[in-house]
């Protein structure tokens, strides 16, 4: 069973938001949906929920079009946080739970349990407007998961959280995954995605530019770095002459070698030992998710393409004279 995003297209006026976007998320996965601002992540989530209607393509869960699924299938944490400001936290959670079909008593029980878990049990009777942004975010997360949905769609769930709450949320994600729930979240924080996800989809301008298991993506990128340190030889320049080495540069304790796709680390290690060198470090380092993202998208995830230096330069430059 999986969530299939199948050639989904969406335009807003002349802007193409999604351009045949296609990928798949397996049940019980924690899935990273990565892309720069305006890449189409939020639009995809809204189409899943029926908030926005796709121009073409289909989205299916467990083989069924999402339009026929009950609303309680989904839990949604929007990027822009919003609660009823004057309503107290517990009433608010019971309200949303009831809308998803929960009995009020059960919703109340679950809500109190989640509040305790997020270390804010005393806030149950407080108005939402009295809470800090981070705590409001936790309440909104609880509103999204209270009815125990099969699929959780989270738009930038980690933004604005302090390290302690970040860990609490990560633990909650892991628990939901262990209970067989599917968690899909978008983020600009590549380290978080790398730490939590098995699979990701990287989108750019409404298209999938890379997707699948992170390990496979790293392998497929062909980019590997070898870090080598030789005892008694702080700058072994001869390493650059070994076979299948693309480039070499010294690092703090030795050399960092960029391996060509054809390189076999075992062959390189044999060659080094054959030279009589005493190896204190021989480490194959895979590229980070951040590096993969930049490789595929051409800029870091946090960069807003609408604020690219070229665009600013063009905007500020005087127009043609005459």
């Amino acid at each position: 069973m999986s969530l299939e995003i199948d050639h989904v297209t969406k335009r807003f006026g002349t802007t193409v938001a999604l351009d045949g976007l296609t990928f798949e998320v397996g049940r019980g996965e924690v899935f990273g949906f990565l892309g720069a601002n305006g890449a189409g992540k939020t639009t995809t989530m809204r189409i899943c929920l029926g908030i926005v209607v796709a121009d073409g393509g289909a989205i299916r869960w467990d083989g069924r079009p999402v339009g026929v699924l009950p609303r309680r299938t989904w839990g949604y944490l929007p990027e822009e946080r919003g609660l009823y400001p004057r309503m107290n936290v517990l009433d608010q959670l019971v309200y949303f739970g009831s809308l998803y079909g929960m009995e009020p008593d059960r919703a109340r029980h679950e809500a109190l349990a989640w509040l305790a878990r997020f270390r804010i049990p005393d806030y149950a009777a407080r108005r939402a407007e009295e809470l800090s942004k981070g705590n409001q975010q936790k309440v909104q997360f609880i509103a999204a998961v209270l009815h125990d949905p099969e699929v959780l769609l989270m738009d930038e769930p980690f933004t604005g959280l302090d390290p302690v709450n970040l860990i609490l949320l990560r633990e909650a994600f892991a628990e939901l995954r262990d209970r067989g729930r599917t968690v899909i979240f978008s983020t600009h924080q590549m380290e978080t995605a790398e730490a939590m996800c098995e699979s990701v989809a990287i989108v750019d301008h409404g298209r999938l530019v890379a997707g699948g298991r992170i390990r496979d993506l790293k392998r497929a990128s062909g980019r590997r770095t070898l870090r080598v340190s030789i005892v008694g030889d702080p700058s072994p320049a001869w390493l650059a002459s070994l076979p299948d080495i693309g480039s070499a540069r010294p690092d703090a304790s030795g050399f960092e070698l960029e391996l060509l796709p054809s390189a076999d680390p075992a062959v390189i290690l044999t060659a080094v030992i054959a030279r009589g060198a005493s190896v204190s470090r021989f480490e194959i380092v895979e590229p980070s998710l951040e590096a993969l993202f930049i490789e595929h998208v051409g800029r870091p995830a946090g960069d807003d393409p609408t604020l690219a230096p070229e665009a600013i330069t063009q905007a500020l430059s005087p127009g043609p004279v005459g």
């Binding site: 929920l49 919003g82 609660l83 009831s98 809308l99």
Partner: protein, 439 residues
């Protein structure tokens, strides 16, 4: 995904939240107290009007082609109408009626229409010698004044007959005078015209009711629109729209806020009804037994309150649906002011037409407006208050209003769904139409 969601229970859950949110707000409590005070004043209006009436002079004119007859009739009417109440011996007793002779009938009619005269007594001697007295007035034939004037008419006949006894005209036989009342455009109650005091009360109450109706419809309607816009601006709409369908949200909002309005209506009406129940005792305590007579239930009646309730509920539902659709089109409550202006103007047209109707003007176009939604809640209510309206007219007006609500509900739901689907965007007309078609 509009087709998969039944209207209940989510619409009920949303309605309950809206109801609680409104009725617990300080603004709601304050406006309820103010409006309840207004309604209680309205309930006491008949007593107030009677009290004012006690201190005012009623002007009557006598018109006749025979100057002598006019003089005799004016003198006799003056003496009959100004008899002090039993027990009043005050030499400074203020005469409640001023009777004058009018030589120009057209001018007298003009003064009657302008409210300078309360009635005109047309007195003529027929060839048979019988005196014909016609009272032209806004009062009904059953009013106290009309009854007193029937006595005066008899007396005028006697005086005229006696003035023609020998030597002037022997053999003349006394014939009982004819007396009739030509009532001008008064409201009816149970197929009977109401008297001038009732009409005055109704006119005042009509203004109060129409103002209340206009205020509540526009205020509650704006509550609906602001509620929708606030949910969009606070972004809680994104949570809501993933939890409930637009149809459920629209129905819940209108029902919840409508119920809050109904609660306020009852909070206003119940104290007023209690005052009505004790109106005779209050009138007697304030005015004394003689003047208190006739004040009971002449103004605010349960039937009129029920009429107000029906037109409030239907009018509110109609306007609230449109306000909700409008609210879905803006991203911030601030933007509502401009967008809601045309709808407020439409309500204002209904309100002003109703005011014209309360003044007895407008003619055919007021009658037409009383059947045409969205003006009918205001105008028909006004017509019921102050003029003769047949039951079938009220039924047709209500039926048309219900039909309009059904049609508007379909369109408003599409607009609302399109508005929230266009979330976060600046919707152009084309995008809106396209979105509305997809819903």
């Amino acid at each position: 995904m509009p087709g998969r969601d039944p209207i209940l229970p989510n619409a009920g859950i949303i309605a309950r939240r809206e109801y609680r949110d409104r009725t617990r707000s300080p603004l709601f409590l304050a406006s309820t107290v103010v409006l309840a005070g207004l309604a209680m004043l309205a309930a006491l209006a008949p007593i107030g009007i009677r009290s004012i009436d006690r201190q005012t002079v009623t002007h009557l004119a006598v018109v006749s082609s025979d100057p002598d007859l006019a003089s005799r009739a004016a003198g006799f009417a003056d003496s009959v109408l100004n008899v002090p109440p039993a027990g009043v011996t005050d030499p400074d007793y203020k005469r409640p009626y001023a009777v004058e002779i009018a030589t120009d009938p057209d001018a007298a009619d003009g003064r009657l229409a302008a409210g300078q005269l309360s009635g005109i007594l047309h007195v003529e001697r027929l060839p048979s010698g019988q005196i014909d007295v016609a009272l032209r007035t806004f009062e009904s034939p059953n009013s106290a004044r009309s009854q007193v004037l029937s006595v005066a008419a008899f007396g005028i006949g006697v005086v005229d007959w006696s003035s023609r006894l020998p030597p002037s005209d022997a053999r003349a036989r006394f014939i009982t005078p004819i007396y009739r009342v030509d009532t001008i455009n008064t409201a009816i109650e149970g197929n009977k015209p109401i008297d001038a005091q009732q009409a005055a009360s109704r006119g005042f109450l009509g203004i109060v009711f129409v103002v209340l109706l206009f205020m509540t419809i526009v205020i509650y309607g704006m509550w609906v629109a602001t509620g929708v816009a606030s949910e969009k601006s606070s972004r809680v709409m994104e949570l809501m729209i993933s939890a409930a369908s637009p149809r459920q949200m629209l129905a819940g909002k209108v029902v919840g806020i409508g119920a809050a309005g109904l609660t306020q209506y009852l909070a206003i009406a119940v104290p007023a009804l209690v005052l009505l129940a004790f109106q005779d005792r209050i009138a007697e305590a304030i005015l004394g037994a003689d003047w208190a007579r006739g004040t009971q239930l002449v103004g605010l009646t349960p039937a009129l309150l029920a009429g107000y309730g029906v037109f409030f509920l239907l009018g509110f539902t109609l306007f609230a649906l449109i306000y909700a659709a409008m609210g879905s089109f803006v991203s911030r409550p601030d933007d509502l002011q401009t967008l809601s202006l045309p709808l407020s103007l439409v309500a204002m047209v209904g309100y002003l037409t109703a005011i014209v109707a309360l003044g007895g003007g407008g003619g055919v176009w007021v009658a037409i407006a009383s059947f045409v939604p969205p003006f009918s809640p205001f105008v028909m209510l006004a017509r019921i208050m102050v003029s003769a309206v047949q039951p079938w007219e009220v039924l047709v007006s209500v039926a048309l209003l219900v039909a309009a609500i059904g049609s508007v509900a379909v369109v408003a739901t599409r607009m609302y769904a399109a508005g929230v689907l266009l979330y976060g965007q600046r919707p152009g007309l084309r995008a809106f139409v396209a979105a509305a078609r997809r819903v």
